[in-house]
Amino acid sequence: MSATKPNDGKEGEVAMETEETRKISEEALYGALWRVNNFAGNYNYERLMGLGMCEVMVPIFRSLKVTGDKLREGLTRHMVFYNTNPYPGAMIMGIMAAMEEAKANDESFPAETINDFKVAMMGPFAGMGDSFFWATLHPIILVMAASWAVNYNILGFFFSYLIAVEAIVFTVIPFFWGYKFGVNIVEKIRNSQIFAQMVTGSKVVAMTVVGVMIATLIHVSTPVVLFQTSAQGSGVNIQSVLDGMMPGLLNLGVLFLVYWLLRKKLSTVVVMIILMALTVALKALGWVG
């Protein structure tokens, strides 16, 4: 940083030693990494992942030799409200480590920037992460696993562990990228077409898979026969009429009934109870089977 030359004399050497750039050691970065995974240890209604964020900074401050008032100030700074999706959130934590490193080396680095950045990023990252990981990638994996499992195929159990791979990969890589590239990475992601393509593409896959699953995993049919007379083979079988229109029409009907109830802002549990009551009643009446 300073332009001190080695042959400046004793005073210069002393100055160089004190101004030596502090760097987070590799061990400390790994220490931060497993703490990143512990982000929700103290998930609470007031500050959500606040303490988790603060814990990540523990090895960082230790490695940067931040002590005394600066340590107290730093730890308090990271105790504020923090909530985001854990996977892209790991990137925020990596960027935080890079920013704390910059601050430890440069007194004039404004402390507010650190929290301002964190607060500005957690919302968009949560939205992005929830819709990509929770609402798209997990369902694709889990639907496939479950479709095996309900057919008693053990592959469903092992395939579920793909989530573990995802959890490890999408914590480790974002964290180290966040630390390495710092704030710049956010702009890169924002402008990256590949990322947008991935999000759209995975939604297409998820929707297609859900369509397939509605047709194959929901089992509704009706044995009702109308206009039955004593003659053999008389009467109108409702199921064959429906199948003639389009196979799986009842499956779609059940799905859209549920969808409509959920759109009415009924909670999951209420819809579940309605669905149970309805099927039990209809089954007892012999209308479905």
């Binding site: 303490l51 997990h138 694709i140 959890a167 859900v210 397939v212 509605i214 959920l262 549990v269 579940m272």
Partner: protein, 278 residues
């Protein structure tokens, strides 16, 4: 029964105490971090994370402990499908069927009830888990204030230990009720199930084939938009008329996606062309 209950409690979460919470505490206490143990923690944590999202895993582990993996697969898979669209968005805590997956599997196996009847348990138990989670998150508010005081004192070790020890609560939240539920509840459940009339039993059996619609409905509410609904119907029609299964459905979806992202103008702005040609 209690030894089986303990075995299940260990398999479905108790193991994490020794495998990764202990190394965490040791690293926090010695204030020395190790690359090797970080990887051990990351991998075991990943396995545990998978279990907390994929309810097939606790169900199959329970089935394994009780010697009936098939029932575990069926119950776990059905619960998975019911809850496929239910996850934490922002800070709202939804009903969580982790404990329910363990208990339903255990009851289905131990009382020889139909899986459908055992799955009827999922509603009350997952709501109970939701309430327990709420209570735990309220307790955590007090602990975060303790953390505030530690931060003001610059007590890094205290913050470390507080968060590590607090994190075990998420495991105990499921494992302790599972232990007592299996130890005490199975006989009661068996009695209850013998009282169940035939029409209710067969009705609930039927319900388990309909409940996946709920999970998919939730999911479609999240990701369904005018842009993406057509893909749903492509998948549906392909399955109805060509009888494809989940895997070929995913491959079909992937192929459509690869074509679609090339054709969508928003995703192919001129900037990329420039970057690509550079």
């Amino acid at each position: 029964m209690w030894s089986k209950a303990f075995e299940i409690a260990v398999l479905t979460g108790g193991w994490t105490l020794v495998v990764f919470n202990l190394p965490m505490v040791i690293m926090a206490l010695t204030k020395k971090d190790s690359k090797f143990w970080t990887w051990v923690i990351m991998i075991c944590r990943g396995l545990n994370d998978a279990a907390s999202y994929a309810y097939i895993i606790p169900a199959v582990l329970t089935g394994w402990a009780l010697g009936d993996v098939r029932t575990g697969l069926y119950v776990g898979g059905t619960i998975q499908l019911m809850f496929i669209g239910v996850f934490i968005v922002g800070a709202s805590i939804p009903p969580n069927p982790y404990l329910a997956a363990i208990l339903s599997t255990a009851i289905a196996i131990l009382t020889k009830a139909s899986p459908g009847a055992a799955i009827a348990l999922v509603v009350p138990v997952s709501v109970a888990t939701q309430l327990l989670t709420d209570a735990f998150m309220t307790l955590n508010v007090f602990l975060v204030h303790w953390g505030d005081r530690m931060a003001a004192e610059g007590n890094t070790l205290g913050i470390d230990l507080l968060n590590i020890i607090d994190s075990t609560g998420w495991m105990f939240l499921n494992v302790i009720p599972a232990f007592f539920g299996i130890g005490l509840g199975v006989d009661a459940a068996a009695k209850l199930l013998t009282l169940m009339p035939q029409w209710l039993d067969s009705g609930l059996e039927y319900t388990s084939g309909v409940l996946p619609a709920l999970g998919f409905g939730m999911l479609l509410l999240m990701i369904g938009s005018a842009e993406f609904w057509p893909f749903f119907f492509i998948g549906f029609l392909a399955a109805e008329f060509m009888k494809i299964n989940a895997v070929s459905g995913a491959v079909l979806g992937l192929m459509i996606a690869l074509v679609y992202i090339r054709l969508k103008p928003d995703l192919n702005k001129p900037t990329t062309v420039k970057e690509a040609s550079r």
